[in-house]
Assembly symmetry: D2
């Protein structure tokens, strides 16, 4: 009820601040007898880890995960899986400016208004560091989906826009995503994007991004109408990620401009299987998966921590300005890709169990 828990049947409770002793989560509701170990989870954490290219923060966070419970002899037991990451990068540094001033675009002001106290070290609980636990829980969710539905389940995200620079969808190649540091599926734009990001970084500014995520191999039937529609839960999951400002399912805002007959995804039988002729719906009808790919696009605002000074106030109510020094991603959206994948996996694992409970 305090907003630190995700999901209903597949669910996890997260905790931890950016510069406290540790961050962690407890993944609960996992079916028993699923093979999982720390290495499997670690590979996804490594994808989110900072410092892997010049386009992300150079902070060193090894983010080594430890399984504390719920796994016995390499298999889940059905009991809660405690996951822990000790914070390594807790320099006892001077938090001076952040301590007393509210950074625009950050949660400093609102945490202070809400709680009357805030752990200002590195953003405390509001830091994107928390998303490491989303990625860890998402790895468990993938295991649930793969073991219960099948290996055909694939959840993949890519960056389709940085600042004003977009991909050409005709060039889309999933295999290219891992070949560049920008999670970009269009190899023809990578050089341009890298140059653009260098410019942004050097100018002390930052850039936004759009992530697109596809889940394939998802059977029809997932989603709980009418308030826990699959798309509603995806929207919530994505909008809960730090720095996100918008979510589209399928054709999204573009659908507004279609006529009804163009927006309709016609259905035809093909070899005894119902096939949709297009996917404007993004794989969801009436809040329930249709068997098509589930498709979502998520907008990340530009990083708020920038070297360009901006006007703000301090905690005593004086006008001032702030420059956020330190090691920040010029485009937080890039490292958002594995988080978007993880949230998609968590939503789907949750609705899979919900579907099983009521309808299977």
């Amino acid at each position: 009820m305090s907003g630190n828990r995700f999901g209903t049947l597949f669910q996890y409770q997260s905790f931890g601040e950016s510069h406290g002793p540790a961050i962690g989560c407890v993944v609960d509701g996992v079916p028993p007898r699923i093979e999982i170990d720390e290495e499997f989870i670690q590979q996804y954490l490594d994808k989110r880890k900072p410092g892997q290219s010049r386009h992300t923060t150079q902070r060193k966070e090894p983010d080594t995960v430890e399984i504390l419970s719920g796994v016995f002899e390499g298999q889940t037991t059905g009991t809660p899986i405690g996951l822990l990451i000790r914070n390594q990068d807790q320099k006892s540094k001077d938090y001076g400016e952040i301590k007393d001033k509210f950074r625009p675009g950050h949660a400093d002001y609102t945490y202070n208004e809400k709680y009357g106290i805030r752990d200002y070290r590195g953003g405390g609980r509001s830091s994107a560091r928390e998303t490491a636990m989303r990625v860890a829980a998402g790895a468990v969710a993938r295991k649930v989906l793969e073991s219960q539905i099948g290996p055909e389940v694939k959840i993949r995200a890519a960056v389709v826009q940085i600042g004003t620079h977009k991909i050409d969808y005709d060039h889309w190649d999933w295999d290219e995503v891992a070949n560049n540091p920008l999670w970009c599926p269009d190899p023809t734009v990578v050089d341009e994007w890298e140059g653009y990001l260098d410019t942004v970084r050097k100018s002390g500014s930052s850039a936004g991004a759009v992530i697109e995520c596809h889940a394939s191999g998802i059977p029809a039937g997932l989603g709980a109408p009418v308030y826990d529609k699959l798309d509603a839960d995806i929207a919530k999951a994505m909008m809960s990620i730090n720095a996100t400002k918008a979510v589209e399912i399928g054709a999204g805002f573009e659908a507004v401009m279609f006529g009804g007959e163009d927006n309709a995804d016609e259905i035809q039988m093909l070899d005894d299987i119902a096939e949709f002729q297009s996917n404007n719906a993004g794989g969801i009808l009436g809040g329930i998966s249709s068997g098509q790919d589930v498709v979502v696009r998520v907008a990340f605002k530009p990083t708020s921590s920038i070297l360009t000074p901006v006007k703000t106030i301090d905690k005593d109510g004086n006008n001032t300005e702030i420059v956020t020094k330190g090691r920040h991603d010029p485009c937080v959206g890039i490292r958002g890709a594995p988080v978007v994948e993880a949230m998609m996996a968590c939503v789907l694992a949750d609705h899979w169990l919900r579907h099983k409970a009521q309808c299977l």
Copy 2:
């Protein structure tokens, strides 16, 4: 857990099918001693009621609400408020085509896949008729906000785009919204929009819409980080409305193209009050309300029930096509405005109570 309930502390459970005996909801968690009666709720239902202009369906649904419990001598008692609307328009008609064919863009196919049975009459549970209960619950939510926070709370929605036609934001006038049948805040475009909708309707097509909703008078502090962020819960609420495909908070997708320094809403003291210099954030930082207006935009796809034939299959797996006759809104988005307002009110009332529980 089955998706027919909304909210956590201020919450309601909805039930009912389009052509069953009745629809209704139970609003729970309402603080005691709030004045409310059927008339107050009815005024909001009347705004959503079909048949009020030539641009909405001509069905007659008086939608008269009855309070069954939870109110005593004109005041809430703190016990659940049962609300009931008997369905009046249940002609024993021939549902022939809808009965056997899956309408593209509708939930027919997915309900069938999920449940193995579906009440095909008028869309059953997946009908937008259910949104009447959202509006009723939203009226109660308004009362909670007004009585606990104050009369300065205002929640208002307007249609800012129909098909490819957009308003000019410089012409925005809240007072104009009630002066035209399209919930349009820009009086200079209403004639053009009406003409456009006539064309769409006559051609047997349909149009999408974008609704923008502002909540003002909301204090700082509402929202439960990190998974139940205020924007996350708004996104879910909006995406749970029938026919919605996208949600933006504040600058939304446009923020992607801003530099960090332009996106930052600078803060300055003005007469001892912290004032934000812009509202790209849409009134929410780190998932918590900042005291600025909360701003959301919601995309509605074009009505799926159209007179233009589209290809589909029947329940026996034969290829066929379908024309959806009957009385349908050419642009469901228009009647979406009071529903968007209602969902905003429900999310805010819920987070108000949550904030009160932990922090006040």
Copy 3:
């Protein structure tokens, strides 16, 4: 969250006051394609109905249930089942004394303290009239268990003690329970009990009762350790019934006096099936059903509405006394039997779905 909802996956939301327009509930999470109709539910309501013998209140409450949604062509559709009972017995009578005085043993004082307002008519929301909805929901729960597990599921309750009068367990005969108005499984004590109750009633006093309920045919595996143990949820369900003061599982308080070796239910193989040699555990180990009969005993306090005057205060803080006239059960425990059965059915249906979601 406001306490008017029961269960997690199989769940229902109840509403309504004793003398308001109606009481009702919404049963949600019910699997699709289960045959059910109003008649099936009505038969259980009729068992709880007052006025069936001289030992229960002579009020006339036909309690006719209407299904408002969720059932189509005689089958559940997976959508919420709205159930409604109009209150028939709303005489516009003088509530004088109850209106101003707090009846000892009733919820009058505490509702007033909590909410600052109370619907005093017939006890309002705190009236045992609400238990009709438990019985209705319990009927649906039985259908879930029977259709998903099998017809071997049986949930039966009996009165094993009234005041100081207990049954002889050696005489237990389930078939006798329906043969007397006291739900008594021991035919040898019925006459004595009836005489005792007549005495109690004539003296203006009242009597308590103990109900024992057995659920048989329940497979091993139901229950969610560690906080939602099957016995924990049964205890909560029973303690939520009006007038209950204690709950025992299996040997209950008697187990305190056993040595560990006597309390242990030994296990032995019998024809390839694990058989427990006794059932001190009441069919639950570690919070999970073992396959044995689930056994619970519930204590009902004597009816608080009595003709004997008791001291109390009025709402203005004056000392006074009160006699509760009207038509009251001298022993509310008797009509508690169908309610106990219903709650047991609801808990088991809920845990069945939970077990299915995670482990099947």
Copy 4:
């Protein structure tokens, strides 16, 4: 939903197995700006710690708690409080018998039936070791109650029966509870009880116990009718503790034998304050606290781990018998006292926040 979480607004998620790397919990919903540190929590853990007298297991479990998050500069921040206890006593011992045989009275058989896998080391998740986290969470709950209601809140438990030996209620002295190793409030029976326990231990048997817990200083108004009555939630909390078999509120089973006029707690004004003349209700009417002491009694069965051989089966379905060697409490109920107190504190803190949200 998987049963490892307790509470709704004040809530905690527990994890960990008896012989895994660690046990822990995440306490969420705690109001901000409450002073708390590890020492405060540790003092309650030390009361539960084994090995403090000859009547409890001689295992050495220092149970040192570490706060991982949610506390900053000695105060709660409103974010989740992660608590961790590393398991110290993980000898790599031979679990031989427990590994293959199902111990009667334990959860071995049912965990195996439910999950198809079990961590047999020391009982795994079903071990009473988990109750350490209840005690830790309960310490936080006390802080919530004391800081929000006042220092007058007191939650105290005592052992009132061991085996067939009961206290004399006329000798009750709260101050004596800490003066003997048996949590006994009647100093006149301690010697006799100690002798009895020695006999039980030496004979390889075990004994049950009854714990009585009083919460005083609790204001009227806590409890959420009708399904989350305060007594219902207390019953669930207590019945979720390992080895409990029964729960009574106030007069409990004894109330069955009272006439209505004797059971009624009469109310009279005393110096402008409403005073109840007795407390058969156990401080709860209609599921809501009345302002009197909240009183509950909980039955613990005799320890199931005994040296006396009992018949059972092994996992391959062979008849066999088992003797549970090792270091076990002859009467687990004794160490249940701090756990009962903790659960009471958690229930009350939760209902306090719920009451605040809706009614204050």
